[in-house]
């Protein structure tokens, strides 16, 4: 009985890892869409998103089964509940990556500093997702904390981009549509950063049993 439980737990672990990897795929495809505007990337982001949704269902069912049938306690219980919370954050990351890939088609170069900042932001967001998944894989609290620290950078970049775009609109930039799209993309990256931070928080919860805002 216990053996079966251990097996299921390790399966949960593997599936979460896979879902994290899919998130990384989705977001890196989205970033590629933005920087290289390849149509293949867009499809990549879409298919990764579908896969992520499917994985979310699977992992959800697995968690429910574990909770109901095995009634885990202590660390095991925390692992399962943290997993349940993490998959919803991962699913959001997938959705937002898809949204970015979708918008990326309509964005034309506007020749602003904001674009460079967005690619910085994209890099930071990808790194955050990678680190949050790494912290889960290695059960490493330090890595989890570094994700929280990175979120500050991403937030600051977002504010900066926003200011630049507002200034561009005020000065009567001829391609206002692209500016709005850029703002949305920046917001999506900012949200992805938040979700990555959430994942890191749940990782810390699964390890220590304390859930709190890592920055707070």
């Amino acid at each position: 009985m216990r053996n079966y439980f251990e097996e299921q737990l390790s399966k949960l672990n593997s599936e979460l890892l896979l879902m994290g990897a899919l998130c990384e795929d989705a977001i890196s495809c989205a970033v590629k869409c933005l920087t290289e505007s390849e149509s293949k990337c867009k499809e990549g982001a879409f298919s990764a998103e579908c896969e992520i949704d499917r994985k979310e269902r699977e992992i959800e069912q697995l968690c429910m089964k574990l909770l109901v049938r095995q009634q885990p306690v202590a660390t095991d219980f925390r692992t399962v509940t943290a997993a349940l919370k993490m998959i919803s954050d991962m699913e959001r990351i997938g959705d937002q990556s898809r949204d970015i890939a979708e918008i990326a088609d309509y964005v034309t170069s506007v020749g602003l500093q904001a674009e460079i900042n967005i690619s910085d932001m994209a890099r930071a967001a990808v790194e955050m997702v990678t680190r949050s998944v790494n912290s889960f894989v290695k059960r490493d609290i330090d890595t989890a904390h570094s994700v929280a620290a990175m979120d500050d950078t991403v937030d600051a970049l977002f504010l900066k981009i926003k200011g630049e775009l507002i200034a561009a609109v005020k000065s009567g930039h001829e391609n206002a549509e692209a500016l709005v799209d850029l703002l949305m993309i920046a917001k999506y990256f900012e949200r992805i950063g938040d979700h990555a931070e959430n994942i890191a928080e749940w990782v810390v919860y699964a390890i220590t049993g304390e859930h709190k805002n890592l920055i707070g």
């Binding site: 390790s10 399966k11 672990n13 593997s14 890892l17 896979l18 994290g20 990897a21 990384e24 795929d25 998944v133 894989v137 290695k138």
Partner: protein
């Protein structure tokens, strides 16, 4: 074993005890009966004497029951029972026997006394039968009488049995327990155990050999996998890592602690797809980039009874190969560019002339055709020179060459091109080396040609000759750092766009390189972008 031996011996002892008690009782019973009858007989004789001597009245004082029966069976007297109530006793077996033989015994259950009774009858001298009877001791009565001593005996025996059996069983097992199984044949123990010990020793030997074999194989395997530079991983069907070598961990950048899922090592998409394809039963390969290096991942499924039980994964460093492939692609592109472009222009101009153009345009076109053809000839000439250098480097004749003379000659040849850009050529120093004049000429020519071509207006070119080295320094556009490692490649051009305007074949430095190889010389190179370029050929000391 102790338990079993103990139980067996204890039970045996108890059983023996019980059986012997049973037999003892049987014998005792017999013995008592005989005793009783004897006693009764002697009593009967006494009593019959007493009666005959007229002491009949006294029979009432005797403990035993005495009955006197007439020969016709009628009871004459009885000291315990009322005579009138008694029936004719002629049919009683002891009476019958007594009438016939003078005496008789019988053991019977007496209805009158409701007890088992022994009778003894004697025929007295007056013909009457005198019968004495006594209560028979039953087994039960004897037993009841003996119950206390028997219990004591039984208890003592049982306790003794218990102690002895446990001792005995322990003693039997002790030598077996103290057997030295490491050296089974050196034991002093029961001879019945000898065949077993022999067998054990034989098997021990076999096991030892097999173990050694297995250990050696394992060690071999470990040595092989640890010393290969390729990463090696074995996973099961659940993607759990079963075996890994240190190269794999190094490549994937993991410390190797607590890995269960292989995706903990790497979760890039090509890696995942390769692993998953292998686990679905297909041979799979993919490429992943880690840092600046490129790795090829090859995964093979492992089957057992047609079922996939895992996969073997090998990770190869293919950075060099990928890099070479890139170079080859670029080389091919460059070659076709250098050779095809002039041909295309020639063909284009010729086609236009074919369609008819005015004379002055035609003159212009033929000038262009001539230029392009010259370019092509120069390219082909350079290619031929290169292949000559490569193939026949050993057959060139060596002589002492005055480099100064050579350099002056070349600067004259290049004067036209230098004047075009207002570049001054200065020759400093003097040197004589042992080499092939033709090749040295080519080398210096190409170096100077480049130095002029890639110079700025009003720049300078210095040819510095030292004892065994030749340096050409210019104040030109320089070479960007990213291209510095590749300028000696054939057809390589730093600026692809400008090459047409500047001319040249892209083979000049390749010729210099091969010339240097011919002379066992070393090429040193120094360049700053937009400042200067300095290329030295250092000849070996004679």
């Amino acid at each position: 074993m102790i338990k079993k031996i103990f139980r067996a011996s204890f039970l045996t002892a108890l059983l023996t005890l019980a059986v012997s008690i049973f037999f003892v009782f049987g014998i005792l019973y017999q013995y008592f009966e005989g005793q009783l009858i004897d006693e009764l007989k002697s009593k009967a004789e006494y009593i019959s004497y007493a009666i005959e001597s007229g002491a009949l009245e006294k029979i009432n004082d005797v403990d035993e029951r005495i009955t006197i029966i007439a020969p016709d069976g009628t009871v004459i007297a009885d000291n315990k029972v009322n005579v009138a109530e008694m029936e004719n006793h002629l049919e009683r077996s002891e009476v019958k026997q007594a009438l016939e033989n003078g005496s008789g015994t019988s053991v019977r259950y007496s209805e009158t006394l409701t007890e088992k009774i022994i009778y003894y009858a004697v025929r007295m001298s007056d013909g009457n039968i005198m019968r004495v009877s006594a209560k028979h001791y039953t087994v039960m009565t004897i037993l009841l009488g003996l119950v206390q001593p028997i219990l004591v005996v039984l208890l003592t025996a049982a306790i003794l049995c218990f102690i002895l059996s446990s001792r005995v069983s322990k003693n039997i097992v002790k030598p077996i327990n103290s057997l030295d199984l490491d050296e089974p044949e050196n034991n002093e123990t029961y001879e019945e155990l000898a065949p077993l010990l022999k067998k054990i020793s034989r098997q021990k030997k076999v096991i030892g050999e097999q173990l050694q074999d297995a250990k050696r194989k394992q060690e071999e395997f470990r040595l092989i996998t640890e010393n290969m530079s390729e990463g090696f991983l074995v996973i099961d069907a659940e993607r759990n890592v079963l075996t890994h070598n240190s190269a794999a961990l190094k490549i994937l950048g993991n410390s190797g602690e607590n890995i269960s899922d292989i995706f903990e090592l790497n979760r890039e998409k090509p890696f995942r797809e390769t692993v998953e394809n292998a686990l679905s039963g297909e041979k799979a390969a993919g490429e992943i980039g880690l840092g600046e290096r490129i790795y090829s991942v090859i995964a093979n499924p492992v089957f057992e009874n047609k079922k996939i039980i895992g996969a073997v994964i090998i990770i190869l460093d293919v950075t060099e190969r990928a890099h070479r492939e890139q170079l080859r692609r670029e080389f091919t592109a460059n070659v076709s560019h250098e050779l095809k472009t002039p041909l295309t222009s020639i063909s284009g101009f010729a086609e236009m002339m074919m369609n008819g153009v005015s004379d002055d345009v035609a003159a212009d076109f033929s000038r262009s055709i001539y230029d392009e053809a010259q370019r092509l000839i120069a390219s082909v000439g350079d290619i031929i020179k290169l292949s000559e250098l490569e193939e026949n480097s050993a057959r060139f004749e060596r002589e002492t060459v005055d480099l100064r003379e050579l350099a002056e000659n070349i600067s004259k040849r290049l004067k036209f091109a230098a004047d075009d850009k207002n570049v001054t050529i200065t020759i400093i120093g003097n040197a004589q080396i042992n080499g092939v004049r033709k090749i040295l000429d080519e080398m210096i020519f190409n170096l100077c040609d480049n130095a002029i071509k890639y110079n700025k207006q009003n720049g300078t070119v210095e040819i510095i000759l030292e004892k065994d080295s030749l340096t050409v320094r210019d104040t030109g556009i320089g070479i960007p750092e990213s291209a510095q490692s590749r300028i000696f490649e054939r057809f390589y051009r730093v600026d692809k766009g400008r090459s047409r305007a500047v001319g040249g074949t892209g083979l000049g430095l390749a010729i210099v390189k091969h010339g240097a190889i011919c002379h066992n010389a070393e090429i040193r190179f120094k360049s700053e972008e937009n400042e200067c370029t300095e290329i030295s050929v250092v000849f070996p000391e004679p």
